[in-house]
């Protein structure tokens, strides 16, 4: 059961800013990057905490604070501390710290490198600082699968709860890699957009726009959550993860690996393809991803269902948050399902040949209601994430 969500994104502070502004068709990208301009570390962190965390971990702290508040977790944890997990994915961890400290090494010599360099840059830093700040003493680690890391984190947290290793988990993804190194390196791969416009699935798409941010969920084992009277926000029904085993960076053009991940997530959730109401696509705005993802959805859901289900990409509004993407997009999906709305693929105008799904152009659209007897059925959605290296991770989520 999902009892809280939190997000810091280029659309502003908070999960509501992300959800409401995206649903209104707004875009947080400026000058070709999706920066969290509204984030001020001093709002959430003491001076010492701020010094002891890279920006990616700081964003995670802000998202965590919001998610815990929504879940109604006070100063005392509502579960045994040893049974609270903290699993946070990132693509590259504290890259800004690494770059800054490498400058120190070059300019001032090895003796002036900060003793905080390693603890700030390590990819597990976000889970470590959250565990320390809030006293989570269960399993805590980062997941590493490039742009699928946030989604793999959430899937792993689900498994920890299902396996009985934890009663609750704080999980998602965080990234802050808008550095000269990362921007140049992604540009060298020809992965990022030269136009600086993120328009997933559109014929004019020319690469992804880098963004930064963090999105975290509070997952609680259903009985434990009921026992404390928690208000459910949604459900995490299933998770599927596969590898393409195809190419270092290019997706399998037929989307076979991604399709298997979608099917596994559906099987895990016990959901049939025609029960899916909404797909939050990976939708990076790269020529290759958006085509292979379209193929994958057709293969996994069947051509008819794939063409009927609204498919939209959060990246049209905030850019690509790399390891943070899965976390922020899971938050966006939970709130979209709660409000039974498909937010638009912002800026989508020109269809590309073969990319013939319903990408929700223009404006947000209500999801059709389904009834089970007298009761309204929960809205069911998928959140896709695919990473360089051929990592595919998919969550199946539902409203309450």
């Amino acid at each position: 059961m999902i009892t809280g969500v939190g997000a810091v994104s280029p659309l502003g502070m908070g999960a509501s800013a992300l959800h409401e502004r995206w649903a209104a068709g707004e875009c947080g990208i400026e000058d070709g990057v999706g920066r969290c301009r509204d984030f001020d570390p001093a709002d959430v962190l003491s001076k010492k905490e701020a010094r002891r965390s890279d920006r990616f971990a700081q964003l995670a702290i802000a998202a965590c604070q919001e998610a815990l508040a929504q879940a109604g977790w006070g100063d005392e944890l509502p579960h045994e501390a040893e049974r609270v997990a903290c699993i946070v994915g990132t693509g590259v961890g504290g890259l800004e710290t690494l770059e800054t400290q490498h400058d120190v090494l070059r300019d001032r010599g090895p003796k002036q490198i900060s003793p905080l360099a390693i603890p700030l840059m390590m990819a597990n830093a976000a889970s470590a600082v959250l565990a320390m700040r809030y006293g989570f003493r269960g399993p805590a680690f980062g997941t590493v699968s490039a742009c699928a890391a946030g989604t793999d984190a959430i899937g792993t947290a689900l498994r920890l709860i299902q396996a009985g290793d934890a009663d609750a988990a704080i999980t998602g993804g965080a990234e802050a890699a808008l550095t000269p190194f990362a921007r140049s390196a992604f540009a060298a791969m020809d992965a990022t957009s030269k136009s600086g416009v993120s328009r997933p699935f559109d014929a004019r798409r020319d690469g992804f726009v880098m963004g930064e941010g963090a999105g975290l969920l509070v997952l609680e084992e259903a009985r434990a959550a009921h026992a404390r009277g928690a208000e459910p926000l949604g459900e995490l029904l299933g998770y599927g993860a596969t590898a393409d085993a195809f190419h270092l960076t290019a997706p399998d053009p037929a989307g076979a690996g991604a399709a298997r991940a979608v099917r596994r997530a559906l099987d895990d959730a016990g959901v049939a393809p025609d029960q899916v109401d909404y797909v939050n696509a990976h939708g990076t705005s790269t020529p290759l991803n958006d085509r292979s993802e379209t193929e994958a959805l057709k293969a996994a859901l069947g051509e008819d269902v794939a063409k009927r289900v609204p498919v939209s990409s959060t990246k049209s509004a905030i850019g690509h948050l790399l390891g943070g993407a899965g976390g922020v997009e899971a938050v966006a999906t939970v709130l979209a399902l709660r409000d039974r709305v498909a937010p638009p693929t912002v800026g989508y105008e020109e269809p590309d040949e073969g990319l013939d799904l319903d990408y929700v152009p223009g404006e947000a659209r209500p999801l059709p209601e389904r009834r089970n007897g007298d009761r309204r059925s929960p809205a069911i959605g998928l959140s896709n994430s695919f990473g360089f290296g051929g990592h595919n991770a998919v969550l199946c989520l539902a409203s309450r």
Partner: protein, 82 residues
């Protein structure tokens, strides 16, 4: 390079460095313990880097472990620097 070390100068340098690593400026006094200031071994490495740049005095991890109070660190540096 190495500045002439007066005790007051060393005190000021160390106090500034401690404030930099997040210690509360009001609490930084000669008798204050590093524990009370919430200054740990990682912070002391940063203080040591400042001191070494300023006075050319090296504070090893072993040295730093023996410091309890701000005064211990100031005296260590002032003695070595003079």
């Amino acid at each position: 390079m190495a500045a002439t070390a007066t005790k007051e100068g060393v005190e000021r340098t160390i106090a500034d460095a401690l404030e930099q690593v997040g210690a509360d400026a009001e609490e930084i006094k000669p008798d204050a313990t590093f524990e009370a200031l919430d200054v740990d071994s990682l912070d002391l490495v940063e203080v040591a880097q400042v001191v070494e740049e300023e006075y050319g005095v090296e504070i090893t991890g072993e040295d730093a472990q023996r410091f309890e109070t701000v005064r211990d660190a100031v005296e260590f540096v002032a003695n070595r620097a003079s």
